[in-house]
């Protein structure tokens, strides 16, 4: 299963890609992700109506005119689902990019420098790991207002430590490898060794961590909107579920489609993340991101 080359270098991007391609579930995941990405980019063109626009057709079941039905204010559920992809993906990708960047910086500095720097940075990381992420997000949303900027900031602040720990562990093990030793013997600078030798070989772990994190951030954002603490300036899946809950008994379509939209997107991300994980050394450290319940 291991794609690692003889000298212990990480599998190349191409090897990881082919591993995803050989796994039918992950390949489906990639296709699904492409569909969501398309929907997010072209939401304005794909959605038949403005998702926020109310009409007198309230709580209509799915029909030719409204293929996913309408909600209590006569808003088109299909348009909401399409636009929701934009909100969820933007939030998920933005938070994950920033958290992973911060985590890679701190983690590689700690792992590579070692000693006091390592100790200090890891103590700092520990402090950020403890406050329960979802609760902190709730408290900040309640105190500071729930807009995308605040929510994104809280999530970045609470997600980077998981990447930092992972990258530190990876750097610690990679820096002892022969090819790093060889590069050092050739007189390469510390920065060059870190950025040209170590980090590229840690990249599969980082990419996997990123993919899985996007999924978890999407779940957290949907959860915050579901309990009524989302940013109400845009139509999001979490808001649709929050709003649809009271009509659950009769208007199942207001709940089913947004719920499926979230589930399939996160499912696709996790399937791809799992396949990438498996393409690595089977003894790789796995990413576990807790899911709010």
């Amino acid at each position: 299963m291991s794609e690692a080359a003889e000298d212990g270098r990480a599998p190349t991007g191409r090897a990881a890609l082919s591993a995803v391609g050989r796994n039918p579930v992950a390949a489906c995941g990639v296709v699904v992700l492409a569909v969501y990405l398309f929907a997010a980019v072209f939401a304005g063109q794909l959605a038949p109506r403005d998702p926020q626009k109310t009409s007198r057709d309230s709580l209509r079941p799915p029909s030719a005119e409204h293929i996913f039905g309408t909600d209590d204010l006569g808003r088109d559920v299909f348009s909401g689902v399409v636009h929701g992809a934009r909100v969820s993906l933007t939030m998920g990708v933005a938070v994950a990019v920033l958290s992973v960047l911060a985590g890679v910086l701190v983690g590689s500095a700690a792992g590579y420098a070692g000693g006091v720097v390592d100790d200090l940075l890891m103590r700092l990381t520990e402090v950020f790991i403890v406050p329960p992420r979802f609760f902190l997000a709730l408290v900040v949303a309640a105190l500071f207002g729930s807009n995308y900027f605040n929510l994104g900031l809280v999530l970045v602040v609470t997600y980077w430590p998981s990447t930092a720990r992972l990258v530190r562990a990876e750097v610690l093990s990679l820096k002892e490898r022969d090819y790093v030793e060889a590069s050092r013997a050739l007189g390469a600078s510390r920065a060059r060794i870190l950025f040209r030798e170590i980090l590229p070989n840690a990249s599969p772990v980082i990419v996997t961590n990123f993919v899985l994190m996007v999924g978890m951030v999407i779940l957290v954002e949907a959860g915050l909107s579901f309990v009524g603490l989302g940013d109400s300036s845009r139509m999001s899946w979490g808001y649709m579920l929050h709003n649809g809950e009271q009509f659950m008994r009769d208007a199942w379509w207001t709940m089913l489609f947004p719920a499926l939209a979230i589930t399939f997107l996160v499912l696709a991300l996790n399937a791809v993340g799992d396949a990438l994980n498996r393409a690595l050394d089977p003894k790789s450290r796995f990413t576990h991101l807790d899911k709010p319940a």
Binding site: V25, L241, A259
Partner: protein, 335 residues
């Protein structure tokens, strides 16, 4: 007792002490974060310390109590020493001290969370081991698919699905609350009534955690099964079940215990979504209620309680580690 062993023990005792001090420090830091949040939030800190329903007279009282005209360090001292005495503030919404409001909800959350965590841990570990032992078989794939779906679906959607099917359509279980409000039940009848209400929330939480624990156990087992000592155990002619559950699982459990411990600490703060969907009167529900009522003292009190429970459970998890892994020890009998 050999000198070496005694030295080891002393060292481990110090480690235990160090971890305890670290945990206390973390709790202190969390209390300070709580304090800073109140002061960084836009508007008057008195408003957050009093809660939305406080009138001008009450706000004056709060300003005096927390010395809001004094320097920030004095305020922090007053805030922290109040907490040390168990004064987490007063909830105007519930007409009660915050700690009392919180403790009232603890039994409901404990009942829900303990049941679900026990069920999902046992089932998750067994299914994870069985899946790993037959890697890539049909059973493994079926278990894996279930786990992936359960891990990916939002917990509230899992709850909604069970609610719609088993409560609203089939009418097998009650949909809301912890007991029937319209009848006065006592003794066994009351117990059965609560169990009936418990079924769907527990099922939801169990599915969600089962998926996580199963995935972790399977990965950890696959990592361990290639090790030499597993091969040795097999070569000794040990029964396969003893190799799996006795030798391999003992090591594979380490990462699983960490995660279950962390999640459990978090869940002690209430299963927010599950309690919301089923109107279960626990801490998670209290959190959402205090948010909608802008009852900030309860909200902040809950945040701190949950954080502390995470720290304490993590500490206990570390101790469990030493029981599982002979290489780690915190002052136990042998090193």
């Amino acid at each position: 007792m050999s000198l070496r062993r005694r030295l080891l023990q002393a060292y481990s005792g110090r480690l235990l002490f160090r971890r305890a001090v670290q945990s206390l420090l973390l709790i202190l830091i969390l209390a300070v974060i709580n304090f800073l949040l109140i002061h960084l939030a836009p508007g008057d800190p008195a408003y957050y310390l009093a809660g939305q329903s406080g009138d001008e007279q009450y706000l004056q009282f709060i300003r005096a109590k927390f010395a809001l005209d004094q320097p920030l360090t004095t305020q922090l001292w007053i805030y922290l020493s109040g907490m040390l005495r168990g004064d987490f503030g007063y909830s105007l919404g519930y007409q009660q001290p915050v700690l009392g409001v919180i403790f009232e909800r603890v039994p409901a959350t404990l009942l829900l969370v303990l049941t679900a965590v026990s069920l999902s841990s046992v089932a998750g570990v067994v299914l994870g081991v069985e899946a790993a032992r037959r890697e890539d078989s049909l059973l493994d794939r079926a278990i894996n698919t279930f786990a992936l779906a359960g891990y990916s679906a939002p917990s509230f959607s899992v709850g909604h699905l069970l609610l719609i099917v088993f409560a609203l359509r089939l009418g097998l279980f009650p949909a809301q609350n912890m007991s029937s409000a319209n009848q006065e039940l006592t003794g066994v009848a009351y117990l059965l009534d609560v169990l009936e209400h418990l079924a769907l929330p527990v099922a939801t939480l169990t599915i969600v955690y089962l998926a996580q624990i199963l995935r972790l156990t399977r990965t950890a087992m696959l990592n361990v099964l290639g090790e030499n000592y597993v091969a040795t155990a097999r070569a000794k002619g040990l029964e396969e079940r003893r190799v799996l559950y006795g030798h391999a699982l003992r090591n594979a459990l380490l990462p699983v215990v960490t995660v279950v411990g962390y999640d459990f600490g978090m869940l002690l703060g209430g299963a927010v979504f599950v309690e919301t969907v089923f109107a279960w009167p626990g801490l998670g529900r209290l959190l959402i209620d205090s948010l909608t009522m802008r009852d900030y003292p309860v909200l902040l009190g809950l945040f701190l309680t949950v954080s502390v429970s995470v720290v304490v459970v993590n500490f206990v998890t570390d101790l469990t580690y030493s029981a599982l892994d002979p290489r780690i020890s915190y002052g136990r009998r042998n090193g």
